[in-house]
Symmetry: D2
Subunit: 352 residues, 4 copies
């Protein structure tokens, strides 16, 4: 095990993503948390804000700071995680990069290559278009080399990870007709964040199943960007997310038509996915006839993938499951961190 | 309010469908329950088996009988509900019809017009093919006249109701390309029945999201039968059901491509659905931009329908919600009962 | 069935109590809802605010008004339900009573006979002490005659109903040592109201069990008032409520020591409870060896009561279950309404 | 970090306790799992039976064996965990101890010092009374020295741990009147085990709150044994467990009367508990005015303890929370394992 210890800070750490990120960083043996910031929690200790962390030394000793670029730089952190709303994150990214601090941003600010598409989907001009070229999309199974040398990583959203991981290799291998892709995703409520919103209180969400956010969820922008790169052509998909009465987890079901260029589609899918992810510790290929279950991946960095072939209609149906706060947010950001720091990719993440 | 009182019996009444059916029949002012049967509960009173019904006079007085056609006939029931597994139901249907008793079957035995398709989907020869012509598919909004005069009604399954109600009028109006239809349905666990199965226990289902049963769920057979009739051509769809950690409710999301024969697809959908269901008390059209939520329909006979148009891909996305034990089973069977008996269709069903 | 129709209004109707009250009133055949008020929902129809009610004629036609005593009086309502916060309710009660309108208040404002105890528990002077003598505590099984002739009924809180219903008759019969009473209650989250509070959002409450509010929950004041009246002496109890990850329902477990004045304590309990509630349609005595389950009472006006004798310690352990929004709030208020209007006590409430 | 690696086996590993135990052992850096047995899963790999473990090398490689003492001995395990039903466990304990293998039994077989009390509570003669003297009750905070040198550890039940941890130091310090103790515990459903039982299926447990098992739950026997030892006199308590619709976690609320021998009871409680657990990494003292929440301890080995003083009745009210499968079963057994093997007590258990 590596003895190296890297100093990090987390900005905007009081939400669910920040909480999961910190929970994992506390247990990461190559990490020293030297700073956490939160406007609303400034002055309180980590363990007061996150009672689950009571008993961890750093959680008793570390106190939330008001967010300030100088104060963060003064902590000596060499890598900073941004768990801030989009639009706000970029401001910190600029300042920190200027000071030579590497940044892993969990917001949407640097995920898109096009400021126009950012503006289309986020209803505001991009706050730092000059940084877009410098940012790497933080999907470690796809961009591991770029991430390793990046100083600005844009960690993907929860839905995109669950959709891109099964689809990217299949599109690269020309196995699918891009225009046929239809996605139904189910997400736990933590994906909506930790906010005082009457529509999110228990009695509103419990015993409720409902679609929302279609047809133009913000995550579509990064999903289609990456699908298009893989397919070598512009891809538009239909995507319907659903809000589910569970805390964490995303299950995604993808319907698509094979391109007909391969042979037995199921064998081809197996071959392509197994090859694409043969080196990836966190992508678990369940094989044909299996559907992924969020229950087996929550609180891990794993993403499970299965599929069936619907021979009656000719469609391929893919199924994936991940933790929206884990592989879909916090632990995936740590995976990028490991790559950036030359640590084994699995460091601090081999949790079951 | 009609003063008429009709004697009924429920066969196989100890499961979730039987339980919901009886709960509603106990409160139905034109119904007298004269018999309930259950092999495993024989000898126990209704209120012992369903503690929720304690305090209802009939529940204290009525005792579960062993199922026997003669015994049921002796109760004087003129209509009998069958809440039995497929394959078993038909045996009772034959005997009861022979005695001049009208039958509402909640199993799959009489839903399909073709015994071959029954055998394909249910892995056994049809147990009573001679009755198929006599049976009416019990979707009251579509077959109200046939139901009114039927003596054998095959009440639809839970998924089919949620899929057929939005699609049938649109297919009849040639608004959709049938081959484009893709369905993702989410169902509460009660749909799997009340059985001692380790995969259904709380800790297995709670905090779990997963697809199952695809690509050839048994309900596809009746769904495609009715879609094909509406479309005037053979329709094959892709259908993925998901098991959700809630007790009751089905939310269905349907992706499909407009045929292009109409004008503004959203206006056409609104026009066709509103016209089709203008006389239907239980179909609530939410209009464009709205998604149906199971929370608002559980324990009712309502089915809610909304939609959006995905202009980026040209698809129409329909959303429906119902109670799988209500409009998807028990209360829908009572709706057919009302029609069969000449009662107002809403009798005993206007619950919110 | 009575043909009489009484015009009513509901003030402060947009919370969970108001919602359940209105849901039941919509189905009550002797009720015409002529007014509903809500500051925040003014101008919207009932069915917009409560989508579950879509399809009920009154819900489509009736629009939320700004609350004003004159406007309410103009609706012609002869009985008004107040579903307002404590402190606010009394202001409306005064104005409405002045206009000769009978009032059923679901807040705490008129439950206590002593303005001093009100101030002790609610941290503010009583807003209308002159009305306290006029108010009747709305526990229909205990005060049916007083309720029938009252023009101001203070409908009890959810915890009190679950604790008082089993205990009052036993204390009146001198079967228990009052000082020995210890109560542990479990409540669904809807008891905390429909408010934008981050501590109530799904991911905070789900998969969480916790006590709160002890040792001096506000409801203790009315609980001890009524226990003391029944016991004929001042009673102080220990009471710990717990917040449970379900939507609705309260389960209460009461530990107490028999006074030793009777014979076999279990037989005495059975005798006393059965006699006390022999005329009560909504109190279901489960008998010794049985524990009440919220599952069988939610969405009804029933309260179930069971008990065991702990012979090893000599304690009696009582168990009750009710719906906190039903028998603990909305439907109990309607039960009082029925008594006030000379309707059968069960009108509109015999739901299972 | 210790480099030592100890070979272990788990017998009866397919239930929830076995599953949690193995999950933790897989991640324990001083452990090599060399055998797992299960009659019903024999021949299947660990990762097939526990899909969550896919990706862990040992889970892919290790296959469930039929349970046999010789086969287990042949694996080379020096410590064996028994996750078997009571009555069955002792048979394996005898055989393994004979072969010089140390045993940690998670069943009830060796928790009681008296075979008569075992027979009274478990309705069968004790299967191996000769071993009772040799067994150590595996509550590490109380019996750490005895555990360190034991070859047979009886790991406590889930309810006992949640009740004993707050009470033992207080009784030892004579702060409480033993006869006054009344306990209300709330447990997640996993406590009932992974079995095909219709009363445990999702739709039966969801949205349900109910007491059960009182007044003489089996765990009372070990609870009262240990309380009596601490108090120096025979203690009998009232205990009511409740089944809660969550997967894991126990919240316990204890009502008791101070003995009056100390001064300010809250200060005394704080002083005694903090002293008793000053060396204990896993007992977190929340202090007065705080209630423990299962949400903060599930999937950890922590137990949280808070309290309030009910000055109106003179009672002390204690609150604890733990994971019934963690500190209440699997991780607590590993804590004993660490002590037995001379490893740091926290090895493999510092999870948040």
């Amino acid at each position: 095990m590596s003895e190296e210890v890297i100093k990090i800070a987390v900005i905007g750490a009081s939400g669910y993503t920040g909480q999961e990120l910190i929970r994992l960083l506390v247990m990461h043996q190559n990490v020293e948390i030297v700073g956490v910031t939160s406007r609303q929690e400034a002055g309180r200790s980590l363990s007061e804000v996150f009672p689950r962390l009571r008993g961890a030394r750093v959680a008793e000793e570390l106190t939330f700071m008001h967010p300030s670029i100088d104060a963060i730089a003064d902590t000596g952190a060499s890598v900073v995680f941004l768990a801030l709303p989009h639009g706000v994150a970029s401001e910190f990214a600029i300042g920190l990069l200027d000071k030579g601090i590497r940044v892993i941003d969990l917001s949407a600010d640097f995920r898109l290559r096009s400021p126009e598409i950012y503006e289309e989907f986020y209803d505001q001009p991009h706050p730092a278009p000059e940084l877009l070229d410098r940012a790497v999309y933080g999907l470690p199974e796809t961009y591991s080399e770029e991430i390793a040398s990046a100083d600005l990583v844009a960690s993907p959203g929860c839905y995109p990870t669950s959709i891109l991981t099964p689809l990217l290799p299949l599109l690269k291998a020309n196995l699918l007709k891009p225009a046929s892709i239809v996605v139904s995703s189910l997400s736990g409520v933590s994906g909506a964040g930790k906010k005082a919103d009457a529509s999110l209180i228990f009695a509103e969400v419990n015993e409720s199943l409902r679609a929302y956010g279609a047809p133009k969820h913000r995550h579509l922008s990064e999903i289609e960007q990456e699908l298009s790169i893989a397919a070598g052509e512009t891809v538009r998909i239909s995507f319907v997310p659903h809000l589910m009465p569970i805390t964490a987890g995303i299950a995604t079901t993808i319907f698509c038509a094979p391109s007909g260029d391969g042979g037995d589609i199921s064998l081809e899918v197996a071959r392509v996915l197994e090859k694409a992810y043969s080196e990836s510790a966190f992508v678990r290929i369940l094989g044909e006839g299996n559907f992924a279950d969020t229950k087996h991946v929550v609180r891990t960095n794993f993403i499970d993938i299965g599929w069936v072939v619907d021979s009656r209609t000719g469609r391929l149906i893919l199924s994936s499951a991940e933790d929206n706060l884990g592989k879909g947010a916090g632990s995936q950001a740590i995976q990028s961190f490991n790559l950036m720091c030359g640590l084994p990719e699995e460091s601090g993440l081999m949790n079951f």
